[in-house]
Every structure is written in C-alpha cells, then in structure tokens.
Symmetry: C2
Subunit: 456 residues, 2 copies
Amino acid sequence: MENTLLHPDEALAQAGIAFPVDERPADIVETLNTLPAEKAAGILDGFTAERAIEVLDLPGLDDAADIVQHLPPAKAVTLLQGLSADRLTDIFHDLDASARDSLIDRLDADTRDSLNRLLSYPEQSAGSIMTVEFVSVPGNWTVGQTLDHIRKVESTRETVYSIYVLHPVRKTLQQAVTLRRLIAGDPGAPILSVAARRTPITISPLASREEAARLISKYDLLAIPVVSRSGHVLGIVTVDDVIDEIVKSGTEDAQRFGGVEALEEPYLRTGFGEMIRKRAGWLSVLFLSEMLTASAMQYFEAELEKAIVLTLFIPLIMSSGGNSGSQATSLLIRALALGEVQLRDWWRVALRELPTGLMLGAILGVIGMCRIFLWQHLGFYDYGEHWMLIALTVGAALVGIVTFGSMAGSMLPFILQRLGFDPASASAPFVATLVDVTGLVIYFAVAAAILTGTLL
Amino acid sequence: MENTLLHPDEALAQAGIAFPVDERPADIVETLNTLPAEKAAGILDGFTAERAIEVLDLPGLDDAADIVQHLPPAKAVTLLQGLSADRLTDIFHDLDASARDSLIDRLDADTRDSLNRLLSYPEQSAGSIMTVEFVSVPGNWTVGQTLDHIRKVESTRETVYSIYVLHPVRKTLQQAVTLRRLIAGDPGAPILSVAARRTPITISPLASREEAARLISKYDLLAIPVVSRSGHVLGIVTVDDVIDEIVKSGTEDAQRFGGVEALEEPYLRTGFGEMIRKRAGWLSVLFLSEMLTASAMQYFEAELEKAIVLTLFIPLIMSSGGNSGSQATSLLIRALALGEVQLRDWWRVALRELPTGLMLGAILGVIGMCRIFLWQHLGFYDYGEHWMLIALTVGAALVGIVTFGSMAGSMLPFILQRLGFDPASASAPFVATLVDVTGLVIYFAVAAAILTGTLL
C-alpha cells in the first residue's frame, strides 16, 4: 500500500517495539509514553481490543485523548466503551470539541448517559474522578445474598472491596461493608450485622479531588462513596485514583513553588514552545516586579555615590531576605495543604515567625559583622574609618530583612488562600522578589539612620 | 491522691476533651496531635485497651513513641502487643534506647522475635515498613480451603485482599491471588486456577520505601510482597502505608526545596529551638556562600566607582538568574523523582535547557532593554551618553545569566544524584546562591567587554 499511514505491524516494527504477550499494561504504558501519539495509536490498534482497553484504562498513559483521536473511529468507539467510567470521563475532558461530539454520538446509550452525567461535574471535583461501577445492595439482604451478587457482578466493577448498603425503599446510603467482614460473616445473617459500627465517611460530588485524597488517606479507606445531598450514592472514588491524584498534585505544587506553571506532560515530552510559555510568563512577571529594585536603587543613588562600600553587601543582604522568605513559605504551604494549619491560625503563625525571624536575622547579622571585622583586621579589605558603623548597618539590616522575609513568606500563603487562590501558587521566586524590593528599602533606611553624618 | 500525676479522667477533663464513644480513631488522633505527649498518654490510658490500640496503630499519630514512654509500663506493653507489626517497629525506631530495652524484654516471645527481625532492616527500607500479618496458603489448596482459612485468620491480618500462594514444599512465592477473584471462583477449583496470569510484582526488603510506593502506584496494587533473595515472602507493604509515605516524602521534598531541613513534626508543634535549628543551618551556609558576592563586588570595585549606573541593575540581573535556576531545578527534581528522567538522560536535558535558557534570557533581555530605552526617552532617568551601550550590557548579561541559571539549575539535581545524594536536596535558595556569584561575574565580564573605552 502506497500511503503515508502505517499498518500497525509496520508502526510497531518501525518503532522497534514488540511487546511480549504477558507484558504488564503498566509497562506498555511506560513505553507508549515515549512515543508520539500517532505511533502509540498504531500500536494500540494492533492489540486485541481486550489488551488495548487494559492499556488505555490506565491513568498513567499520557496523551490518551490524543491517541484516541489517531485511532480509526470504529476502533476508538469499541475501546472507549470498554473503559471504566471515570477513565472515560477523564479522556473525554481532554478531547477536542469536534472529536468529542462525533465520538459521543457513537457510544451506546448507557455509556453515553453515564458519561454525560460525569462530564457535568467540574474538572477538579470528586464527582469528575469518581467511578459509577461500584457494588450496592439493599439493606434487607443477607450476607449470603450479597456474596452471590458480588460473584455475579465482580467482573464489571472497578472494586468490590467496599459494598454500599442502601435503604431498601429510599435507596439512600445506610452503611458500608468491607468484603473481608462479609466473607468472615455468617451467610444467613443480615448484611447490616457485619457493617461497620460507624456511619460511613462520604464526600460531596462538588468537593475537590484533594479533599477526596485527604479523607481516603486519613481514614485508610479503599474507596470513598460520593453522595448527593439527598443521600444517594452517585459513585465512588478509589484509592488508586487518589494515589495518582496525590502524586500529580505534588508535582504541580513542586513546579509552581519553583516558579513554573505546572506542566501537563512529563519534562522530556513537553515541547520547546510549551516549555517557554510555561516558564517565560512567570519569569517576565517576576522580572517586571524586580525592576522596582532598579527604581529603588535610582532613588538611593546619592547615597550609593557617597558610600560605594554599601553596594558590596546588596546581593548578600537581599538574598538572605529571599532565602528566609522561601523557607517560611515552603513550611506554610505544606502545613496549609495538610490541614495542620487553618486560615484562622494566621496570627499564631505570625507570632511564631516574628521571634523566629528576629533570631535567624540575629544569627546572620552576627556572622555578617564577624566577616567585616575579620576582613578589616586581616587586611583583606579596607572598609574605611567607619568600618564599625558599616558592620553595624549590615548587622541591623540583616535582622530587619530576615524578619521581614520570614513574616512576608509565612503570611503570603494565608493571603493567597484568603483571596481564594491556592496557597501553593506562592513560589520561591515570587517571595524572593517580594522581599528584594522591601529589603533594599530596609537596607538604605538602616544605612541612613546609622551612617548619616559620617559616610552619608 | 496528692501527686502531680493526673488520673486519666482528670487529664481528659483538664484538657477539656471528651470523646464520643463512636469517635473515629483518625479523629481522636487529630485531637491528640494538638496535645503534649504527657496529656495524650493520660487520655490513651483512660481508654479501653482495644480503643487505645486502634488509636496508637494509626501512623498519623505524631510522637507515638513519646506517648508510649509516658504510659505506665504495664499498660504500654499491653498496647504495644496489640499493634500491627509494622507500626510497632515504627514506634520502636523512635523510642529512646533505654525505653526500648526495658520494653522489648517485656513483650511476648513471638512479638519480640518479629520486632527484632523488622528492626534489623534499615530505617528507609521497604523491610522497615512491611507488615508480617498477611495471608499465605500452599499452592496445592483449593479455592474453598483458602476461603475457609481467610475466614479464620481475617481478624489478625492487616489485609486479606491479596493472598500469596506458596510452593507447597519450598514455601517460596508462586503467585498472588486477589480476594475478588477468589470469591468469584469455584470452591472446588485449585487455588492456582484463579491466580493472576502474570508472576507477582515483588520488592526486596532492602529497596527504598519510595520504590515500594512507586511500584504500588504504578501497578495499582493494594499490597506488594517483600521477598527475600531465596524467594520467601518476608512481609507485605500495603497501600495505606504507601499513601502516608508519599504524603510524607512530598512534605519533606517541599520543605527541602524551600531551603529548610525537613521538620519531623507539624509546623505548629515544632518547638522554637527546633525551628531555629532546622532553618538556621541552611540559612547560614547559604549566607556564607553568598558572601562570595561581596568578594566579587570588591574585586570589581574599580568598575563600580567608574560606572555607578551599573550597580542599579545588579539585583534585577541576579534575581533573574536565580529565578530561572529555581524553575529548572524544580522541574528536574520532580522528573527524576517520578522516573520520567534517568541519570543517563542528563545530556538530553542539557540540550533542552541550553536553547530554553537562551530563549528565556533573550525575552528578559529585550524587556530589560525596553525599560532602559523607555526611561531614557520618557526622562524618568538619565543613564548618560552611553545609555545604549548600557542597555546592550544589561540585555547581553541577562541572556548569559538566564542561560547559566537554567543550565546550572537543571544539572544540579543530576550532580547530586550522581554523588549519591537525593536530588531533592537541591533547594531554590541553594540554586539562587550558586547562580548569584556566577551571575555577578558574568555581568561584569559583559560590562568590561562592551563598555571598556567608554564608561570603563
């Protein structure tokens, strides 16, 4: 055939890839992630439907939506119908609008209905990552009936380890039963007799995925039911989805703290243009803000000309403010994310950061003054006749700047949260920039106070 | 009684805390975490042994070792014997040597033996977080025999959702069976007929806990068997332990990236002295390194005196280098942690960061030059007759410094990993400091090249 489309086997061969028949789907995903979507689609197309579905079902597969768009439409529909409901929703969220519309019409009615329902939840919500394939039984069943039911539906459910017991008439959630308690129970006993003593932990479909992760992790659950206001179980969020979520949000937070917009794909697969966009934005904003330092320096130019010796310590002093701010911010972002600290605790934190900043500033101040004493006495540099006053200026400025850095760095995540932003949007470079400008002003103010009449 | 020790009820009352009888252990833990260890011990002592064990068994309880040391020894022994093996090991790792010795002798022989075995694994290893309470059956059993066995041992096992099938004679691991496949199976069928098609994913006891977390997360497992070189199952690591591990290591990484030594306790529970120690160390090291900037400035003092206008841009230019370095470091730390990038990929990364850095530097360089043009033309500031050369100096220096920042920031995690350190020990302040000194040298070198003969 003389066309540009490769036959699947050729695509496989050309990519130099042949998977052993018992290769694990997670390992296949790892390989596919290194290939362009078109090649990956060719390989999936060459698999049996069962195997292709197993692979496509893994959230670890990047670009799944892109891959689906490169599949022949009939094949795409077959594979999509075999996916778990939460994964299907995930992929549909990422499809182009045109592909989405054309594919959704070809799905069977049941799949389409459940998809439309799941797509209606906001993208970062528990509802958007839940699966509707869970096990529920009426509260008037016995242990034996429930076990028989599980045996029948096992293959079509994402997890059968948590069973949700519904009110026989109202169908609202009554209790949760674990499979281990169920098999240990007497088959003739009522299902409620083996249920947990406590009412189940639930989550609203509109709660954040982070909240689902937090609850599952805190209560060591295998799944958490997503419950409507009327008490009906809409779906469940399972522990494996939550692990992916925790890892993903850890990556996003780390990248944002480094001052980068979170990448959507792994580092080596992010294109050059995308990489520049994700980095240039913040870098330019920071650069523009940091220009205020040039303005501040211009403002103090007269002082600088009189005492050029003051410029020597500018980088040292400014970086110390940025570093202490970065420390405080990283501590507080994490404490807020883990719920160790609440918004209302801001004053407790401020009351801790104030003495901490003063102490840290004093430590650096003493080191800085020692350096000036040493250099002066050892003859490495001559700071002039007022060297002791210069040392005092540097020491005092450090106390002020490090204290300011700790305070600003610790309060910034609270301010962001209060304004409705994610506290994790505070980045180390952002804090450093914030502290730099103020740091310069503090430095020159301290210098003016101490050196006016002598050097200035 | 006229003594300083409080009766448990008094301790509870004095702390103003009364737990409802059906309060969840995880919620009790949250409250205990806000109390000093002595008070928490008093409250635990007032609980029934069963309830106290449930609470102490949760890894979320900070200071568990401290709390145990504040319990009456007989009570401590009762509670410790009731804990799961992995949690017991965890607590013993944190006990003072004297408490450890006195308590270990009072444990029953079985608990002591399993504890000693687990304590022999290094603290960050999979062996140290595994539990020995898992279900294993010989490979010649039937599905029904296995189910009967699980019913009997269910209450003494941490998880029964993965069942390990051992060679009937050699007792080595043959297969893993999930409980869901087991209950769906025919009771008369041999156990191996419902086993997974693939050989089970296993981990060595000496592998890192991060590796256990990575495997469980990648293959969506509920537990991973820890297998000796001879093929015997030593224990299992369960998904809930792994979630705690992922969250904990995420926090440590975030704190380290912010330039703080990882805190052992939540922010608000870390004492003032401890907080200073965790922050002052790095801050002082960074400060001492940053002193090189003062030395560099002294070295270029002649140039500074001739062209004071150059000093105006020092903070701006240096911070841009630090920011681009911080971006690159955060991207690479995370890519290395997730295995998206391997040590051997360093040159690929270098080949990407070089053009990225040049491009980002060019963007900032153009913005910086525009600023100088604008200020000059709008009359905000007079940069003198050579203002165009100054603009050129700033622009060229930014290209050089941002490129250097991106390269240094991206290579640092590789260098640390190559030297056997955790790549995540690279912090934003560390990168900024590294780039600051070089940044100054680049700036003055560019200035010398462009301005010698005019301003210099």
